[in-house]
Symmetry: C2
Amino acid sequence: MGNWRKNLRQVEPYVPGEQPRSLDVVKLNTNENPYPPAPGVLAALGELGPDSLRRYPDPTCGVLVRELAARYGVGEDQVFVGVGSDDVLAIAFQTFFHSSQPILFPDITYAFYPVWASLFGVPYRTLALDADFRIRKEDYCQPNGGIIFPNPNAPTSIGEPRSFVEEIVARNPDSVVVVDEAYVDFGGESALPLVSQYDNLLVVQTFSKSRSLAGLRIGFCIGSPELIQALNAVKYSFNSYTLNEPALALGTAALRDEAYFRETVEKIVATREEAVERLGQLGFTGPRPLGNFLFVTNPALSASRLFQDLRKAGIFVRYFDKPRIRDYLRISVGMPEEMEKLYDFLGKYAQ
Amino acid sequence: MGNWRKNLRQVEPYVPGEQPRSLDVVKLNTNENPYPPAPGVLAALGELGPDSLRRYPDPTCGVLVRELAARYGVGEDQVFVGVGSDDVLAIAFQTFFHSSQPILFPDITYAFYPVWASLFGVPYRTLALDADFRIRKEDYCQPNGGIIFPNPNAPTSIGEPRSFVEEIVARNPDSVVVVDEAYVDFGGESALPLVSQYDNLLVVQTFSKSRSLAGLRIGFCIGSPELIQALNAVKYSFNSYTLNEPALALGTAALRDEAYFRETVEKIVATREEAVERLGQLGFTGPRPLGNFLFVTNPALSASRLFQDLRKAGIFVRYFDKPRIRDYLRISVGMPEEMEKLYDFLGKYAQ
């Protein structure tokens, strides 16, 4: 038996969330957008011809970068795109966290941060959220090799104001600070206006939530030209041609329909606000949500058992069997009629 | 000015080939397939609905993995897919070449190998091709941390028989041997029948050449279940959701039309064989090509000047300003009428 196994990279494989294919399922487990993408997106699909499939895509992703720069009022040299925000974040870890000092992130946050740190050999330190699940910004003043946190945070759905982010960025001029704004469009306050002022701030967003395009895998980030250039150098050393032609064409079409974007975001926010009330009447509490999901607990119920029982009833939510949050469920905001099914189930539910 | 630059990863950015967008160009520079993808591929595009865009894709890429396993007669646990073969190769570098011994590859080969080695901190040694640009298999018996080579090789278009690959694999039971078969469908002999016998052999292929889908970014590899499992562990630690829904659906459709695949491959091979003859009449020589491209030189002409003059005439080919090959051009096989434009130009050309 060959000894080639000695050179294998040992990693703890990340287990992605369930993606049930059945259409009968009420899918409130991966924070997808319940509304279809903008009408122009499907129209753009019909316009893709054989040449756009047969030829390599533009490695600079020019059409999408230009549209993003115009939409967010920044230079084209301030925009980087990737295969979902996971790709953008993974490349940011490789590019900016090449330090012997530990990087800092919250103990309760996006589960991929420690996975990337392990994969790329980046030392890290997690900092405990306070008793209300809030990030303690004063903890982020210690020496570090970089900082990353989501705002709003996940799975808590708690958002902090721009001034909060600015304080962390301003106090860490020697670190790159990555703010992961996957959920910002649902009521958070974006740090984007700060990028012109701080060359060490990178703001990451995605088309998977507010733009209804999780199936296309499009993420992006905005920062100083120097940060973007460094990301591109790593990206071009890994895979020159990443976003495929459908992603470039359809992502661009999605950006062009601002009215539809605002309309669906407003609907989701309205459904979320109603969910806070309705779930409250059913005995659930949790932090005030700013993402397209709620993080709730019910002192009368076992969250893990409720999670299983919901699943049996075809209602998928997310449960994390981890310290401090194992009494909570993360529930994505679905269509009003899907939420009614959830309220119905919970109204009749007795363990 | 902040000192965050100290933690930047320093890489030499890879510069991808030109992708002129003009339709007037005769594009023989990136080894794309000149024929459109199979008719079923465009039909599959029309069947993509809003839900397939709005939801996350299947992270296991199940539909495409199953189709590949059936097509190549291997188990589903022997197939891994990625965002183009570049993604597959980059993940293979990260996964299998985690060694302090140098990995081995030819000095004249795909330009990305040294780039990945640098990015992931993998030591490497390049081994000189012989005077006829052939890989010397006896060189690949020295101690190493892994082996990678394309077959057919690029930019030479030279292919070696399966027995040649087997000898290298058999002599290196302590290394993973990666055979990069991007061009194998145009007349090369694939090492795929060997994977059932050697658990250290990984065969990488792509949909970008013989399947006319460069614009979708689909690559795959086949190997022992243990190799595939290790690749998946790294992939899931980097980005769980990589191939988007259009890539999964259209890639699967492409695989289902075997007759079209064979027909277009045969046409390209016929055009290539004619090109060998026609270019020969014009004074060009080169190794016998087995990929969808030719590697040619003309003792009466400066290759770099010819490259520039072709470019001015709207005919794009590839030139590598590197030792040993700077008298050569790499010319992709285009449509017969595109090749006629090339012959016409060369027939009238005098420096």
